[in-house]
Amino acid sequence: MIEFDEQQQRIVLKLVYYGPALSGKTTNLLALHDQLSLDGRGELMLLDTTEDRTIYFDLLPFFYVAPSGMKIKIKVYTVPGQVRHDATRKAVLQRADGVVFVADSQLGRMSVNFESFDNLEKNLSMVGLSIERLPLVVQFNKRDVVDVVPEEEIFKAWEPTGLPVIMASALKGFGVLETFGKILEETFDSINARYGLTARYGVEREAFLSEIMKVSK
């Protein structure tokens, strides 16, 4: 959590889209930006890129104000996927409240996915976060591509982790909202359990989720 100001009634949460290079993290944010209503979200900020590849991060903010006046701001970040930007990944990962791991479904990218996941686990522990307790959702992106690993195989491989796994195509736009909704739920539940959002600040789960997940017309 970046900020919790009780006097100002303001919470700033941080969600991070993690994953190997070219798995579609920025595309996920672009799709969210397109699909969700401007009412409740801010502008997508794409920091400088080289050859269309993220070198810093992207940032998409969301806002929710509970009837009690409690304001919740959610900052959604992407990280650069390339191995050499590890320090940037670590910096972005600091104080994250939830992580979406965007994996590449294409055949032959499985080892890259696992390497990146290992890297996530390592970096989380380096910034003092526990992968066991941090809300984490796995998205298998690029389901629209022909040569992809079959769903059953993916579910079978990831089942032991107990993590929610969602199939998506950020390019075609499916699975993106589902993924975002899932990590929002998990993050809300985790923060609620710790800070009593509902009990102490009157932030209702359903209202919070539906307000942020408002689809643009």
């Binding site: 970046i2 900020e3 700033v12 941080k14 979200r41 801010g42 502008e43 900020m45 920091l47 400088d48 810093y56 991060f57 940032l59 903010p61 806002f63 701001k73 900052k75 970040y77 320090a87 940037t88 670590k90 910096a91 972005v92 600091q94 104080r95 380096m126 910034v127 003092g128």
Partner: protein, 431 residues
């Protein structure tokens, strides 16, 4: 390699106030231009409604009309632009206010981007720096470890070298003993021979002595009786002849001088061996190497290969300070090799030469024996390399010889072709 989790002083994307993103210096020129274009005054307020910058009439009349535009930070209204003017001229101000809002918003967005980029840069640089410091620390530690290791390694090497030197000294001693042992067989024969005839001579002489004392006893007995010289002569002559004393006396002399020669021969053999092995000397002194060569040869002659011819060509040499015992050992090993190189069906000739040339003592041992095959030539100095049957060669002969020569400050070369013979040349720079 692990690093401490760096204590970052800030987090990327931490919430910022408008005043942190937008400085009065950036707003001021814009507001000034705005006022020039018409409005009475204009201001930018932060999230708490406090002015960050203000421009225009300090005491505006209350009748002014205001336009307010929100300024967004990450899509969230965090500040306000106020433009105020006379209600009468208000319409002209509206587009100006919008223009100013857009310009400010653009500045906010760009500044925010720049700040986020800088933050991540700083964070990455800081982390890289910390990593480097960590790496440096680890390197320094491992360097220290290696240095300690190197130090103890040096010590270990020294210990091992000492052990090796000791073991080598032992091998040298053993080689010497083996050489002497090899000589012992020939020596035994050489000593046994004279010893045998000395013994036999002494036995015979003992017998002769009996006859002589008998004869003397007879003389003594007759001398005590009153008999004529005629009688005495008669009595003794017969006995003298009986005892063959003419022959005995002559032979006894021969026996003794023969035995004396034999004993002298044994004495010489022992003296040669003793001076060859230099049992009495430990340190070096100035020696004539020709003397050493001759002595070595005289020892070797005891077990000379039948039919072998040794040719000596020894030129005068200056005295050479060395341990002559050791050098004799080297000469022995080399000459023995030459003597054992006999090719069947060919008369073996070993030529031993010495000369002094250009400040160097050069000693060469050349044979016309079997030679060394080219394959084996590079290996002849290897310890324990031998082509002889198991038990008959130690494989240390040339190794020891070369080490002795090197130890004396010289070098040793082998030139050989299979079937034609071998020449070993020792060069000792004269000091």
């Amino acid at each position: 390699m692990t690093f401490d989790t760096p204590n970052l002083t800030f987090v990327v994307g931490e919430e910022k106030r408008l005043a942190e993103i937008l400085s009065p210096a950036e707003i001021e020129p814009l507001l000034r231009s705005l006022i020039k274009a018409g409005p009475v005054w204009a201001a930018v307020l932060d999230e708490d409604g406090l002015p960050i910058c203000r421009h225009g009439d300090d005491h505006p009349p209350d009748t002014l009309q205001e336009i307010r535009h929100g300024l967004l930070v990450e899509g969230e209204p965090r500040g306000t632009l106020i433009v105020a003017n006379d209600p009468s001229q208000f319409q002209a101000v509206e587009p100006l206010a919008l223009l100013a809002r857009d310009a400010l918003q653009l500045t906010v967005n760009n500044n925010l981007k720049r700040m986020l980029t800088t933050e991540i840069h700083t964070s990455v640089v800081q982390e890289s720096y910390e990593q480097l410091v960590g790496i440096n620390r680890n390197l320094a530690e491992s360097e220290k470890r290696y240095r300690e290791l190197a130090l103890s390694l040096e010590q270990k090497v020294e210990e091992r070298t000492k052990e090796l030197q000791k073991a080598y000294g032992k091998i040298l001693q053993q080689e010497k003993l083996a050489a002497i042992g090899g000589l012992a067989a020939g020596m035994a024969h050489e000593i046994n021979n004279p010893n045998g005839f000395i013994l036999s001579n002494l036995t015979t002489f003992k017998k002769y002595l009996g006859r002589m004392s008998e004869m003397l006893g007879l003389y003594r007995l007759l001398a005590s009786k009153e008999i004529s010289s005629e009688q005495l002569k008669l009595l003794t002559e017969a006995r003298w002849r009986e005892l063959k004393l003419d022959f005995v006396l002559e032979d006894a002399l021969d026996l003794l001088s023969q035995s004396q020669q034999g004993a002298e021969r044994i004495g010489k053999i022992v003296a040669d061996l003793k001076s060859f092995s230099h049992v009495d000397e430990t340190s070096g002194y100035a020696a004539d190497l020709n003397v050493e060569l001759t002595r070595t040869l005289s020892v070797l002659k005891l077990n000379m290969v039948p039919g072998a011819v040794i040719v000596q060509d020894l030129q005068p040499l200056p005295l050479f300070t060395c341990n002559p015992g050791l050098l004799s050992q080297a000469f022995l090993n080399i000459i023995q090799n030459a003597l054992q190189s006999s090719d069947k069906g060919k008369g073996l000739e070993v030529r031993i030469s010495s000369r002094f040339e250009a400040g160097e003592i050069i000693i060469a041992v050349a044979d016309n024996g079997c030679g060394i095959p080219a394959d084996n030539l590079p290996r002849v100095f290897e310890p324990f390399f031998t082509t002889r049957d198991v038990g008959s060669g130690t494989g240390m002969g040339l190794t020891v010889a070369r080490d002795i020569v090197n130890g004396a400050g010289g070098n040793m070369e082998i030139d050989s072709s299979a079937g034609l013979g071998t020449t070993v040349t020792i060069r000792l720079p004269h000091r």
